[in-house]
């Protein structure tokens, strides 16, 4: 009996300590957080919002999602006004048109609303911007996967979803730079070094890939940064019978590419989980609320953000997932 009481008391004390601990954790705060993605409904942002759900479970916060169903800068601004009027504590926004939403976010902050962005390094009126990783380093990592897979020789075809996409272009450029610096025996097959545009469209990228494989039959490596286009390029490789000849490294969602990773058409997937980004955004909102200033080396307790790099208002993760046939089944998103 006595022992039971001791255990009970110890338990209560521990519980009190842990809950007290939670209140002191600057990354866990009970608050109302709105997720405002570019568009609602797509696979990417739906998955990102699951990170908000995880945070809600950790902190007791109320989280919800709002946003336009198609890319629309004006509607995005109206959403911000609505959220301020509702009096939410924090808005976690993935801006559709950064330059157009910035002023509206300024008004929100003037009302005391915390603003956290993702893919918003250009924004002025924010508490923090969260980026999954440094684009140049990500490109370097992919280039090394290619270089090793190809045994240091051969030639690569580099695709981009759109020639206007900042992220795709900086990864692709970083890949070319790294290949040229580190693997002198690997050439870039693309004519004049210009990346082939796949259009973020499965049918189109399938056609472009088939064409490119015929135009550059000597290619032994391929990189694709567009998650939408990755599976159909794998299919083109498969149909051309180049599964074994080509080392294919690409950005993709595990569920979308599982078949091709297992069949060996896609050798390595580099990816990050949008839900992790969502959760990390919530944690930054909490830090802003508790007045804690995030600094380089901090651990947000989320994969990829265990050792963040802070430059001004931009908080950058430092890790991404590299998945091959051996690991692909461990991930479901």
């Amino acid at each position: 009996m006595k022992r039971l009481v001791v255990i009970l008391i110890a338990g209560v004390i521990l519980l009190g300590m842990s809950s007290g601990f939670a209140e002191n954790d600057p990354f866990i705060q009970d608050m109302v957080i709105a997720h405002l993605p570019k568009t609602v409904g797509g696979a990417w942002f739906t998955r990102m919002y699951q990170g908000f759900g995880q945070y809600s479970g950790m902190s007791g916060s109320e989280t919800f999602q709002i946003g336009p169903s198609t890319g629309d800068a004006a509607a995005h601004n109206a959403n911000v006004q609505d959220l301020v009027a509702q009096g939410v504590d924090a808005i976690c926004v993935v801006p559709y048109a950064p330059e157009q939403i910035d002023a509206e976010l300024g008004k929100a902050r003037a009302e005391g609303t915390i603003v956290i962005s993702n893919e918003g390094t250009k924004l002025q009126n924010i508490d923090y911007d969260l980026e999954a990783f440094d684009n140049t380093k990500f490109g370097q990592g992919a280039a090394e996967l290619l270089g090793e897979g190809m045994g240091g020789k051969g030639s690569i075809i580099v695709f981009v979803g759109s020639l206007g996409s900042t992220a795709h272009m900086s990864w692709a450029n970083s890949i070319v730079d790294t290949i040229q610096a580190k693997y002198p025996d690997i050439q870039v097959a693309n004519k004049d070094g210009v990346f082939i545009e796949t259009g973020n469209n499965a049918a189109n990228s399938y056609e472009k890939a088939k064409e490119a494989l015929k135009a550059y039959p000597e290619a032994t490596g391929i990189f694709c940064p567009s998650a939408t286009d990755t599976p159909s390029i794998a299919r083109a490789i498969q149909e051309a019978g180049l599964t074994n000849q080509i080392t294919y490294v690409a950005v993709g969602l595990p569920n979308a590419v599982r078949t091709y990773v297992k069949s060996g058409d896609l050798d390595v997937v580099v990816c990050w989980d949008p839900a992790d980004v969502g959760l990390a955004m919530c944690k930054l909102a909490a830090a802003a609320k508790s007045g804690y200033e995030v600094k380089t080396g901090d651990d947000l307790g989320v994969f990829g953000f265990n050792n963040v790099i802070v430059e001004g208002k931009v908080v950058m993760g430092s890790e991404w997932r590299v998945l091959t046939a051996a690991e692909i089944d461990d991930f479901n998103y």
């Binding site: 169903s69 004519k191 210009v194 990346f195 049918a203 399938y206 064409e211 015929k214 159909s232 299919r235």
Partner: protein, 336 residues
């Protein structure tokens, strides 16, 4: 006689196909390889089937802006439905998938027809709005996430791997003529027969030529309109299901923004924008010509950032040649 053949639109498209074929063949001999030609035919399947529907609406005097969303709605809903059915252990044959998708397409087409004939909304506006409505309904009630190869109905995947005749490529896999090319040819042929030899088909030409005259000779405009849009919807449903099967993934946004590429092919094929004129053979050649150009620019060495620019220029070139030829034809008939 020869003059009349030369001035036919189909002859012109065919010569342009040969002209570009020769230029591209010189630029890169791979263009003329059997594999590339087989690939080209497969790439033409989706635009060719969609083009049949676009042509019918164009002949009736309207520009359809909804056919891609009807195609996506029908195909996506169908593959989603049957992927759930499959998850519960029932494998559905491909024919059933096609029929269901075509049925949904025809149903959506009849909504277009209602907007056009009952509320007298111009076709362009009606279909532009209905395209948004279909998209919204699909995202809200059917879904917006990808359907991956492993979830897709088995018969769709099997269809996408089916070749009519095949031989081993250098890489060791089998290459050959894809079975979907037959479906496209069948769709073109049936559209041709219906438009040319049935009263319903002829009434579409009459409606597009002059609606009030058509009504005066006894064609029911409402019936003809219903036929036009149900037929266009049915064809879109077929095109969508085949297109999704061919790439083995259903991405709801995949067809977005291709309205004008298909419509351009139909117009280049000699279909009159203001209605009343158009032939399936012309449309088939128009699709072949535009795809021959757009699918081979990388192969012949046009740098990617110029691809759209060069494609646009070539389309303008083809259209100008046609306009000149149309004028020559009129002059010829006046001279007779």
């Amino acid at each position: 006689m020869i003059k009349r053949i030369v001035l036919k639109n189909e002859f012109l498209s065919l010569s342009m196909i040969l002209l570009f074929g020769i230029i591209f063949g010189i630029a890169n001999p791979t263009f003329l390889s059997l594999i590339n030609i087989l690939d080209l035919l497969k790439m033409c399947v989706k635009p060719a089937i969609f083009a049949c529907g676009v042509m019918i609406v164009l002949i009736s005097g309207g520009i359809d802006m909804s056919f891609l969303w009807i195609g996506m709605f029908s195909a996506y809903s169908t593959s989603k439905l049957f992927s759930i059915v499959q998850a519960n252990g029932t494998i559905v044959p491909f024919a059933v998938i096609l029929l269901v998708s075509m049925f949904i397409g025809a149903l959506l087409g009849s909504i277009n027809s209602l907007l056009v004939s009952k509320f007298r909304i111009p076709v362009f506006i009606a279909t532009l709005s209905s395209a948004n409505i279909f998209m919204g309904i699909m995202f809200q009630f059917v879904g917006s996430e990808y359907i991956f190869p492993e979830q897709m109905p088995q018969s769709m995947i099997e269809f996408s791997n089916k070749l009519l005749f095949s031989f081993p490529s250098q890489g060791g896999t089998l290459v050959g003529l894809h079975v979907s090319v037959l479906y496209a040819i069948a769709a073109l042929l049936i559209t041709h027969l219906v438009m040319r030899y049935t009263m319903m088909g002829r009434s579409v030409y009459a409606l597009g030529g002059d609606a009030s005259s058509a009504e005066r000779v006894g064609f029911s405009l409402i019936k003809t309109n219903l036929f036009v849009f149900m037929m266009a919807g049915l064809i879109a449903g077929l095109a969508g299901a085949i297109a999704i099967s061919n790439i083995q993934v259903a991405n709801p946004y995949d067809f977005q923004g291709q309205e004008l590429t298909v419509t351009a092919a139909v117009i280049i094929g000699g279909t009159r924008v203001t209605g009343g004129k158009g032939s399936v053979l012309g449309v088939a050649l128009g699709v072949l010509l535009t795809n021959l150009i757009s699918q081979n620019l990388i192969l012949v060495g046009v740098p990617p950032e110029y691809n759209k620019f060069v494609f646009g220029l070539l389309i303008i070139f083809a259209t100008i040649v046609q306009a000149v030829q149309e004028r020559a034809r009129k002059a010829l008939y006046r001279g007779l």
